[in-house]
Symmetry: C2
Subunit: 677 residues, 2 copies
């Protein structure tokens, strides 16, 4: 079979994933939704989530339209640079594909939540797990399906590996995916934490009503936030990694980084690997569903491992057949790194492991020591993931050069279909619990959803680790692609421009995180004011005689999130352009490296500190160290509140920052060369 025809596997696998996603979405929709208050609550959540998306998309249309215009015009100013209508169109296509995946995934997730609650009520654990997981799988398959379909078609219709300028369309597609990810992750992250803090600080602490109580005006916004942040935001993040890693591998291979590794076969191998990854993910999803009568944690783990082994086997055979045995080694290195980073994350955040226990014990001497212990765990937890990613990179480079690094990233991300499915199942189960509570379903229902939710918390922590690890490898791949595109022979730290680029790049994740944390603070403040106002002006709400105005809280969180994300977003897009314009392409290389190093470290630090605080608090709430209401518990709540914007807003947003900066640099690389040359 010719190499060109092999690339056909990509859109075919993409279509397969989409077909299965559609079938699963239908199967979820056909499941019984319950009645009465349950359906009302679920409708309010779905309307809120869709309202957020609609508003976000309005802002996005302006941003994406503007960027497409810039790409179009840049082509007129720099003929032959690869810019122009094709890149602008590919950019729009990438953005649209990500938006479509997010829209479809959210729609199904907000359909599956109430059905999960109903299944928990009628059929117990196994049935509830099946629906929740199916809802998550739609998001996962939509991500890989649209990503692979879009990239595959662009590759077949436009790219000629012999003419490097034609590769620019792939960069454009990746940049479209990155732009949407920025809005979905940062905006979604701000939304979810503002709603959460508003619901908790006023509802739980000031008014003294329990979690998910329907008297809390912010309760719907809080449940919307789970979908907006953990389903749509996470999906867009991994869509960006998935697309970015594939583009990087193809670009590096075509630009000759793989000259020693088999030429044309090397260019097409990443697409083949991704296609095999779709099949592996489908297999994993089937295994999970077949095992859903068991312990949910075991079923999810078995599905994930099945997919990983299937990919390793299939990918290895394909690599051998294409005459690229080295690429198989690089792929396995990436795959193994993904699994190991997940396990390390689990160790540092799980409630039954020493780090979170130590954070819990430190709450005995007050909030300050609890905060310090969590910060220390977060900082310490950066060591092993960095060593794991470093080792995988070394192995991959040893066998296949820069191409090997890019292939390792693809290996890590090829099974994104099931990874996202496992991740998105968590917030669906969480929502199901909220709906059960708000609709006044029996306590047994809540017990079932709580069990699913507890498993979801662990998978979410591991998913965060995976998202960071994959962002790191993707950014490394994009960094190689940037170097290949600019033709920079070296990015030399002894050149002060490069070192200064690295210092400035290293600083950006700190500045970006600071903006994100402050944004959450401001948005939460708006929410707190609104909830207080409703309680004050309508005293009937707390007595249960009056219905709170949920929609207004949803609206406030939406507005605040979108307003607050402008500054960090501009920073990410502008920084590589300004540095490239002032100091040239080598300095941008330093900038990307600096941002990669600090971004990965701060993201791990924030995610794991947040996870450790969260689970330390839950450990105390489970009755340890004085239990709920004790001084230790009050101290642990402080740590958990500090950790919320860390782990759900600033940390995950850094994944986007490092990838988006790399993609922007890659797309605009031809212009930096002109400026410097």
């Amino acid at each position: 079979m010719a190499e060109r025809e092999l690339a056909l596997l990509a859109p075919v696998a993409g279509l397969l994933a989409l077909a299965v996603a559609l079938a699963m979405a239908r199967s979820v929709a056909r499941t019984e939704a319950g009645e009465g208050r349950m359906v009302d609550v679920a409708r309010a959540i779905q309307e809120g989530a869709m309202a957020f998306l609609a508003r976000e998309y309005q802002v996005l249309v302006v941003f994406v339209g503007g960027m497409a215009g810039v790409l179009f015009l840049a082509g007129r100013g720099a003929p032959g640079s690869g810019f122009g209508p094709a890149v602008a169109a590919a950019y729009l296509l990438g953005a649209t594909a990500s938006l479509a995946a997010g829209y479809g995934g959210m729609r199904v997730a907000t359909t599956a939540n109430v059905r999960t609650a109903r299944m928990a009520e009628r059929h117990g654990l196994a049935g509830a797990l099946a629906v929740a997981f199916r809802g998550g799988a739609v998001m996962g398959l939509a991500v890989v399906g649209l990503g692979l379909l879009g990239l595959g078609l662009l590759y077949l219709l436009w790219v000629d590996p012999g003419r490097p300028a034609t590769l620019a369309v792939l960069n454009g597609f990746a940049m479209g995916a990155s732009s949407v990810a920025l809005f979905a992750r940062v905006g979604g992250g701000i939304y979810t934490k503002a709603a959460d803090m508003g619901a908790d600080l006023v509802g739980k602490l000031e008014a003294g009503i329990p979690e998910d109580d329907p008297r809390n005006p912010a309760v719907i916004a809080d449940n919307v936030g789970d979908n907006v942040g953990d389903v749509a935001g996470m999906g867009a993040d991994l869509f960006e990694s998935y697309v970015g890693s594939l583009v990087a591998a193809v670009v590096v291979a075509a630009a000759g980084g793989a000259a020693s590794s088999g030429g044309g076969a090397a260019v097409v191998f990443p697409l083949v690997l991704a296609a095999l990854g779709v099949v592996a993910s489908l297999l994993g999803i089937a295994v999970t569903q077949a095992g859903s009568g068991d312990d949910p944690a075991r079923a999810l783990r078995r599905g994930t491992l099945t997919a990983a082994f299937a990919l390793a086997g299939g990918g290895g055979l394909a690599a051998g057949w294409l005459g690229l045995p080295q690429a198989a080694v690089a792929m396995v290195a990436g795959l193994a790194a993904g699994v190991l980073v997940g396990l390390v994350t689990e160790y540092y955040t799980a409630g039954d492991r020493p780090p979170a226990r130590q954070v819990a014990r430190s709450a005995a001497t007050g909030p300050a020591t609890n905060v310090l212990a969590g910060l220390a765990v977060g900082m310490k937890s950066t060591a092993l993931p960095v060593l794991v990613v470093g080792a995988a990179t070394l192995v991959a480079h040893h066998v296949a050069g820069l191409y090997g690094i890019a292939v390792a990233a693809v290996g890590m991300l090829a099974t994104t279909g099931i990874t996202v499915a496992v991740d998105a199942y968590g917030p669906i189960a969480d929502n199901a619990g909220g709906i059960a509570e708000m609709a006044g379903l029996p306590a047994e229902v809540r017990a079932v959803t709580d069990r699913l939710d507890a498993v979801g918390n662990t998978t979410a922590a591991m998913g965060k680790g995976f998202a960071i690890g994959s962002a790191a490898l993707t950014a490394l791949g994009l960094f190689s692609a940037y170097a290949a595109t600019t033709g920079l022979g070296a990015i030399d730290l002894l050149e002060p421009r490069v070192m200064i680029g690295a210092l400035v790049g290293g600083m950006l994740p700190m500045l970006f995180s600071s903006l994100a944390v402050e944004a959450v603070g401001r948005a939460a403040f708006a929410m707190i004011e609104e909830v207080r106002r409703q309680f004050r002006e309508r005293p009937g709400i707390l007595t249960g005689d009056d219905r709170p105005d949920y929609a207004r809280c949803v609206d406030i969180s939406t507005r605040a999130a979108l307003a607050q994300m402008v500054a960090p977003g501009l920073l990410a897009v502008a920084a590589p352009l300004v540095v490239g314009w002032l100091l040239g392409p080598a300095a941008v290389g330093g900038l990307l490296a600096g941002a990669l190093v600090t971004g990965v470290l701060v993201a791990i630090f924030m995610a794991n500190a947040g996870g450790a605080w969260d689970n330390a608090k839950k450990y105390i709430e489970g009755g340890a160290l004085g239990g709920k209401g004790s001084a230790s518990h009050r101290a642990a709540v402080v740590g958990d509140t500090v950790g919320d914007p860390f782990k759900d807003t600033a940390g995950p947003s850094l994944n986007i920052l490092i990838k988006l900066m790399s993609v922007v640099a890659l797309v605009f690389a031809p212009l930096f060369q002109r400026a410097a040359g």
Copy 2:
């Protein structure tokens, strides 16, 4: 005059500084010390401080002896590498010089404190400022005097710029200074915060007695900590920067980095500049003392600016006369960067500026929002210092290449004499207040020392910014020297070993900070247990009928600090050796760059977050936002407690980490080459 003779200026200026230091120490000793309880308290503090030094020195003797043995033996294994008896001896000399400066400076500081209190009692503000500042000036002049004398003699007696291997003695001297700085900064930082937290948490919060109350068993340890951390630790830190920047400039010049800049004159210019810096510092000290009748803040500022302008003028003339006008520009770039970084630090931490005000306001919604606001300020405050250091580096490199960067560092540090004097005056004034309180002196005395102390807090914050900025430039200079010594033509981020080195290097400051924060926690816990035990077993202490066992608290803090600093210390020394052995010299280059980027950022983040929390709390204590005892105040105390180990232990220790790693790499560079070659 021949260039060789010009180098004579260095030891001569060193002797001049030491002579003035001796005269000032005598003048402090001749001042009236007061009587009765005052003298008792002062003696207890001095004994505690000297006991800590004695114990620290015992540990150091083992460490320094072992390292000297390694250097000696490495020379036998690698003949011609520059290692051997001379480097081992220079290493011992550097360590001894730093120890002597620390010993002398602490001795005088703990003599000046009680005399400052007495002057405040008898002669008011001007007299008290004069004694406190004179005490600090002895530390400052001892640092530059011993540094310059030692380096100058080594240069004249051993170095032949034509034979690069002879430069290894200078590296050895710098590594000796770094080893002592590690112990002084990390050990001192752990000591001071353990004592502080022990005194505050049990004394103030549990027993409800005020600050500096003689009934608190940890009160002497707390006052000892000010000397151990802020006088000896800070002095050793700047001794290391001072020596490191000079060595880097000489090595880069001799290794040909300055071939275009005048050859021999370029080698000797850094030493001439340092000698002029001594004269400039003496001038600044004289101006400060003459103006001490005025506002203390103005007197200190006038002295610092006088020294800066004197150095700029004198250094410019000398550079012109030596035919190195470009070096004058580089020097001024460094000098200006030091001043600007100090001003930025002041902005982000001062109690009357928006950032600290915002942190204070965020305390209204509880400790969690206060902690988040401080973290956000700290992260945001990294932006401007990085841009300032980056701009200075660009300018310096533009005019004189890598040599220019090293000269910029020397320019920033040449006036270290007065910088340390201004820094060390703060803890002396702070101690004077403690003695006044414990000895029951009239309230007016405390009012005078409080005014001096408030100025000291501002100068301390600016001094921290300066210490970080100078560590960054020194590390950049040492990085250049490392490259020159290894003969690496490039440290290329496209080589995965370099990128992995950068990732691992970037991770080390996080891991190191985590160890430091946990060390403070453990040491503070030991102290808390001891204070509780004393209160429990001897109830007469709290009623004033029994005298607490101060010495035991001093002893516990000492033991804990020294035991806890082993792990971070080993990490700093071992990391470059392990990476060099496994991955070769280019990977070590990446390691140093990564550690430099993250280390500088995390150090600024921690110092400024800590400063902002501290001053936000003080702002509330001054009566704002509900004042002392309000809910906002309780929340602000949490932030301040989180900030304590940030700003006084982990943050400053990172200065040492990045310099020590660079020096270790520089010293062992010949061995990495052999391992790789």
